[in-house]
């Protein structure tokens, strides 16, 4: 089975000589469609760099990035840009919604930029907003929405159309833990419908929504969780409590 995202021996170095900084060293990571992976690490560990490279917003110093089996180094810049628009969705900590556009216009924008017919863009945007339970807020501007609603709109924008890869950098931002959990539930259900998801976080309770947690330290992937056993054993009777 083709992995939706495959990072092979990715290294990223900033600067040169004495001021050289190794942000990532020989990182391997694969994510399948339908799988949500959390990348956990302290500040400066390289986790955000990993995400921007996976999303082709930045080039690695060495190594390969394959999205849906396509090696990004082997395609033209315009083809890369096309993949960024069509195949990859991004969710940022501060939502990054455009303030002059309504929720609906924010969600149709990536499709319109990609040249989709207006009718198709509108239908897809409606479906995405409905999926994120913010359809009734479609005509509102970002500053008329609560933090939780803004993030739902941002996720709707990231999954609208036929995206294959969903990348989220600290997507729960400044939300309280219950609203943060709601965002993780949505990312989880979006990925379980077939998209591959990577979410970067430093909070363990958010990372625990992922199918797999990858730990990164000083630019190295140092560890990852193994598939947890079912929950049955955990809260069941007779565990001595």
């Amino acid at each position: 089975m083709t992995k939706t995202l495959e990072l092979r021996h990715i290294s990223k170095t900033y600067g040169s000589g004495a001021s050289e900084v190794h942000a990532l060293t020989e990182v391997d990571l694969s994510v399948e469609g339908g799988e949500l992976v959390a990348v956990m690490g302290p500040s400066g560990s390289g986790k955000s760099t990993l995400l921007t490279i996976a999303g082709s917003l930045e080039q690695p110093s060495s190594g390969q990035v394959l999205v849906d089996g396509v090696d990004l180094a082997n395609v033209s810049r315009s083809e890369q840009a096309r993949m960024r628009r069509r195949a990859i969705g991004y969710v940022f900590q501060d939502f990054n919604l455009l303030p002059g556009l309504t929720a609906f216009e924010n969600v149709t924008l990536p499709l319109e930029l990609d040249g989709a017919p207006a009718k198709v863009a509108k239908t897809s945007a409606k479906a995405a907003l409905a999926e994120l339970q913010v359809a009734q807020r479609a005509s509102r501007y970002p500053d008329e929405l609560s933090g939780g609603e803004r993030q739902r709109v941002a996720i709707a924008r990231a999954i609208v159309g036929k995206r294959k890869l969903l990348l989220a950098d600290e997507p729960t931002g400044a939300l309280d833990s219950v609203n943060g959990e709601a965002v993780m539930r949505l990312l989880r259900s979006a990925t379980h419908r077939g998209v591959a998801g990577v979410v970067v976080t430093h909070e363990a309770h958010l990372a625990s929504w992922a199918d797999r947690v990858v730990f990164i330290r000083d630019g190295h992937v140092v560890d990852q969780t193994v598939a947890p056993p079912g929950p049955e054993s955990l809260l069941a009777a007779g565990d001595g409590r």
């Binding site: 833990s177 309770h205 625990s208 140092v222 560890d223 990852q224 955990l234 809260l235 409590r241």
Partner: protein, 196 residues
Amino acid sequence: MSVPHALLALLSESPKYGQRLQSEFEAKTGNVWPLNVGQVYTTLQRLERDGLVAADGDGERARKQYRISPAGRRELANWLRTPPALVPPPRDELVIKVLVALQVPGTDVHEILQAHRRHVVEVMQRYTKVKAAAAEDDVPLALVADAELFRLEAIVRWLDAADVRLKQAQRTATSPEAMPSPEIEPEATAATEVSQ
């Protein structure tokens, strides 16, 4: 968990039979607390002896209906406001392990911290699965799972802080300014030996 107080709470709604108390207890604690009916009756007996509940009806215990007394209501109100013991002696097993690891030559403490971090996050994933699988309106279960998740997250945060502290201690010990000094802190030396 105080079973007597949980039973008082259930009786504060209305008088109830033992069997019903058992099923309600399990449902209202998110079905995470098994309680057999024998335990229910033993507890009710003690509560009755202490004047916190009264039984209506005679003979067989299954035929008795129990109700809370005014003293029982006062006891319940006091208990809800009494803080649980939050200050255990600082002898946490994980903390001890990490302190011991600092003393064992050739041990990579960061690797040990990570092994524990992974294990804790794996347990958290299981609790989150419970929450994800539950109905969204199952508030008792969400509260129980949240309590465990935040308790476990506190452990991860401690592991993260330990990582940073040990790295800082290592940097201080190996920085050029620190080198000429013959007086190196014993803790810093330990961190240097065991860190990568």
